[in-house]
Amino acid sequence: MEVLMITFELSKEQNLILKSAKEFAAKELRDIARDCDEENAIPKKVLDKAWEVGLANSAVPEAYDGIGMKRSAITNVLIGEELGYGCATLATAIMAPSAFINPLIDFGTEDQKKKYLPQYAGEKFVPAAMALQENTFTFDPTDMQTKADKKGNDWVIKGVKRLVPLGSTANHFLVLARTGKDTGLANIGAFIVPRNAQGLTISEENEKTMGLKALPSSRLTFNDCVVPEADKLGGDQGIDGRRLINSIRVGNCSLSVGLSKAVTDLSIPYAKDRIAFDEPIAKKQIIAIYLANMYIETENMRWMVWKAASQLDGGKDATRATTVMRHYVNKYAMKIADDGVQIYGGHGYIRDFPLEMWLRNARTLTVLDGMIAA
């Protein structure tokens, strides 16, 4: 009997989900991606369709009206890559509520899970999001500027959050803030805040971004926003801040892997068709080696993400792994999107062709965080 300790083997369930996500992305995402980007809008029905297939909330346990699939970062990474392959923007929109749902599953008290999870357990898309990014060019989650202070039985949040996905429609936000004097990921607190909370102002206009354009996002201003003790995620114990940040990094990077694979798969046929100097440019060594490196690094990135995800699934602290993963994935996903545009030449610059959109999406995706949780 062979016991392979080091293994890339997926479970039967994971293989089914992978197939599902792949088929969904091919059928529903790729073809509408450009129109969504031009119109800055996502049809609700594609979000509903994704949720109907169980691509964002299947880990909600049966006790809270969910499907009760095994909670696994690897599973979410598989979904993230396939949806990201279809369209990074639509993938983010579909999976954004996971950044509210999964932390609730991971860290919520029994009461919190009972109260909130059933609202997100159904077959129709229900918007929610994490509020992480702050209003500074030097944002550092280990040094949060958004503060939550205890006042009697409540917490009072002060600060500004930027680029919060689905801000215009989200029912709830999971707001990350510093709860004490101490910095560091371990000291991050998370608060469940409904959109109509007093002291919370959601920007009227959506944020205007270079990439992931169709994903609506908002600026959230917390002016002494009062949050009852019952809505501090994890209650007295709080959350495992490292685990939370690591799971969103893994989620983000899984989309980047899908994006990288998409750019590579778009570049190969283009290079084979495009004739220059009497032959396809794919037969020129420079272009051929670009493509080889794009393929090689897409694979490498995937395994880096799997490694970090498998550590999360194994209950280990994945901070070192996600730091290393993120550095690598952000660098190479950017390079691949960039090389893709170059291979397309002039056509890489024109919006009739896909590549310029993937470039904008790549730069945007690789500087953002807090959008989906693996």
Binding site: V3, T7, I74, Q285, I289, I296, M304, T323
Partner: protein, 396 residues
């Protein structure tokens, strides 16, 4: 379930392997400085004799928990070979195995394998004018009665001094290109088979690299590996079989290079620690020093190459095709053997290049990785052809 960790038993074994690796450092500098001497791998590290218990640990593990994938085991050990010499040779316990033996396994008839199975065989394909373009070799083999007559020059023959025989690639019909290439077993002492020199190298100095001349060298007809005397018009045959062995050897070579860089990286981490430089894996960009950033870069490259290599090995172990993955992991392993080793020395500054310690040797030893067993350029062309659906005629 996806997992890249080792269980408790394997971790214990790996710890002992690392101790063995550390032990082989003792004579490592000597062999680096005495390139003119040639001793068998096992003889180079007498201090490793005390570690035979590791083989018992592995046998025990096989009995109790089931045999761990040998290829994955070997990869993991190669990647943890430390700064010493010859760990892999010691661990495999195969003191009579070289690349010619791999050819014998891939292309020889059962009788040939029985005849030469216990003979240490090197492999000779590279020539002064021909390396990457292996189909352009000029060494000829002409059938004369019951003998093949070989003429040509071979260089860069690993284990060329220690070996008892050499598997020589020669062409029986130059006009047929690949289809005319065969391999022949030439035993040392055969008239017309002359050892010309032992190379002096940048690194891996304890590996004996030789050059040979074949001048009207006559060998028995039965020494043609595979005994197929037919000239193939469209490639295939023996050439393809030999190419297929690369799918096993490329991950191993990549793992070796990664092992050099890993060892250099371990040294850097220890050196930093000793000088009070702490790695904070959580720190944001404003708080990280340039050294910490470089450490993250170095660790990420090592990890990417390692995972890529494990993937190729895992597929091979499952009996699945890994032609593409082998070429990919060799490309990446070769690449970081250069950039990673360079970055490690950069992190150490001026003292990194002194010969007080072995890390500069790791830099020199690692450098061959992107050159042999298919250069990084060739391996990337292999990848490009695979993903483009091109033949080597389509894309050179």
């Amino acid at each position: 379930m996806v997992d890249f960790s080792l269980n408790e038993t394997d971790q214990k074994i790996l710890e002992e392997v690392k101790k063995l690796a550390k032990a082989t450092e003792k004579n490592s500098r000597y062999w680096d400085e005495h390139e003119e001497e040639v001793r068998h791998m096992g003889q180079k590290a007498p201090e490793a004799e005390a570690f035979s218990y590791i083989f018992d640990m592995m046998k025990d593990r096989d009995k109790k928990e089931g045999a761990c994938s040998p290829m994955l085991y070997q990869m993991t050990q190669s990647m943890n070979q430390g700064l010493g010499d010859g760990l892999m040779s010691i661990m495999s316990g195969q003191r009579n195995w070289a690349l010619g033996n791999a050819s014998l396994q891939a292309a020889g008839t059962p009788e040939q394998q029985a005849k030469w199975g216990n003979t240490l065989l090197a492999m000779a394909n590279t020539e002064p004018g021909c390396g990457s373009d292996s189909k352009a070799i000029e060494t000829t083999a002409v059938l004369d009665g019951d003998e093949w007559v070989l003429n040509g020059e071979k260089i860069f023959v690993t284990t060329g001094i220690l070996c008892q025989g050499v598997v020589v690639w020669a062409t029986i019909d130059k006009s047929a290109g690949r289809g005319g290439i065969k391999s022949f077993v030439v035993m040392k002492g055969t008239p017309g088979f002359q050892l010309e020199k032992k190379e002096k190298k940048l690194g891996i100095r304890s590996s004996d690299t030789a050059a040979f001349v074949l001048k009207n060298c006559r060998i028995p007809r039965e020494n043609l590996l595979g005994l197929d005397e037919e000239v193939k018009q469209k490639g295939g045959g023996g050439f393809k079989g030999l190419m297929r062995t690369f799918n096993m050897t490329r991950p191993m070579v990549s793992a070796g290079g990664i092992g050099n860089v890993n060892a250099a990286y371990d040294f850097v981490q220890e050196a930093m620690k000793k000088e009070g430089v702490e790695m904070n894996w959580e720190a944001g960009p404003l708080k990280r020093t340039s050294i910490q950033d470089k450490m993250i870069e170095l660790e990420s490259q090592i990890q990417a190459a390692s995972l890529s290599t494990l993937r190729a090995a895992w597929l091979a172990e499952k009996g699945q095709p890994n032609n593409l993955e082998s070429a990919m992991c060799k490309s990446k392993g070769g690449e970081i053997s250069r950039t990673g080793a360079q970055l490690a020395i950069e992190l150490l500054g001026a003292l990194g290049i002194t010969q007080d310690q072995l890390v500069e040797k790791a830099f020199r030893d690692a450098r061959i990785t992107d050159i042999y067993e298919g250069t990084g350029e060739i391996n990337r062309l292999v990848v490009a052809r695979a993903i483009l659906g091109y033949t080597s005629e389509d894309l050179m």
